[in-house]
């Protein structure tokens, strides 16, 4: 190992803090896409963009060790993936489920930031 493990851990912690600081902007971007998707009752391009954002958040969150946050993101990612494969027009229950999953993710992000940035 080139660098000492203490120095690596310190750098990793800085990266984690930067990740936490950027989270609200990422969530805002997802919210904009979700609102646009729901308003149109479907748009494949927006759905793919939302899926990609969720996919990245799930992966990055886990690499940083933020399992709970990743789990919420993964849950919504899987639902959007299912919609992409199966449905091209959202019905009311699907809109409700998407919004509910997003609120869960938002709450998880808020909770995570409260504890991490404290």
């Amino acid at each position: 190992m080139k660098d000492s493990s203490q120095a690596i851990s310190k750098k990793l912690r800085i990266l984690m803090t930067e990740f936490a600081q950027r989270l609200p902007l990422r969530i805002k971007g997802m919210e904009i896409n979700l609102n646009a998707l729901v308003a149109k009752f479907w748009d494949e391009g927006i759905a793919r963009q939302l899926y990609s954002e969720l996919h990245k958040l799930s992966g990055t969150g886990t690499s940083f060790g933020f399992q709970k946050l990743s789990a919420k993101s993964r849950k919504m990612e899987e639902y959007v993936a299912w919609l992409l494969e199966n449905d091209k027009v959202l019905d009311k229950s699907q809109v409700k489920k998407l919004c509910s999953l997003f609120r869960e993710l938002q709450r998880s992000v808020d909770h995570f930031r409260d504890s991490w940035m404290r």
């Binding site: 190992m1 080139k2 660098d3 493990s5 120095a7 690596i8 750098k11 990793l12 990266l15 930067e18 990740f19 950027r22 990609s52 996919h55 990245k56 799930s58 992966g59 990055t60 969150g61 886990t62 690499s63 940083f64 990743s70």
Partner: protein
């Protein structure tokens, strides 16, 4: 058989957070010389100058995904035979089979542990030469 030294790694990944974790892992932990590109096209343009020993590709990327990037790199003289590893969160067995069928050296799954990624890559690299 004595292995070739692994020194220069090109990593293609569009997520800035993953880029930073990988940089920490590969440079600080592994001691490799690393260049990171955000897009496949950027990688294709860079390889004649950087001449990597090993390439690591994300799969889901905008514009040119990992598979298209792989194919484009194989068309280049400089990277026709350069070992390529896919680093992906997409773990459908059929997709993984496809990566190996294309000639990928290995598939590493995300999320990866930043403290052990470099060791995993060293092991894969050494195995490549042990098998020859």
């Amino acid at each position: 058989m004595a292995g070739r030294l692994l020194h220069r790694i090109l990593y293609v990944e569009d997520d800035p957070d993953i880029q930073e974790i990988a940089r920490l892992s590969l440079v600080e932990v592994g001691g490799f010389s690393v260049r990171i590109c955000s897009y496949g096209r950027e990688a294709v343009e860079l390889v004649p100058r950087f001449k990597p020993d090993l390439i690591i590709l994300d799969v889901m990327m905008p514009d040119m995904d990992g598979i298209s990037t792989f194919k484009a790199l194989r068309e280049l003289k400089d990277t026709k035979h350069t070992p390529i590893i896919f680093l992906t969160a997409k773990v459908q067995p059929d997709e993984v089979k496809q990566y190996y069928a294309m000639g990928a050296l290995e598939v590493i799954y995300k999320p990866f542990d930043p403290l052990t990624l470099a060791d995993s890559i060293k092991q894969i690299w050494n195995r490549l030469f042990d098998e020859r």
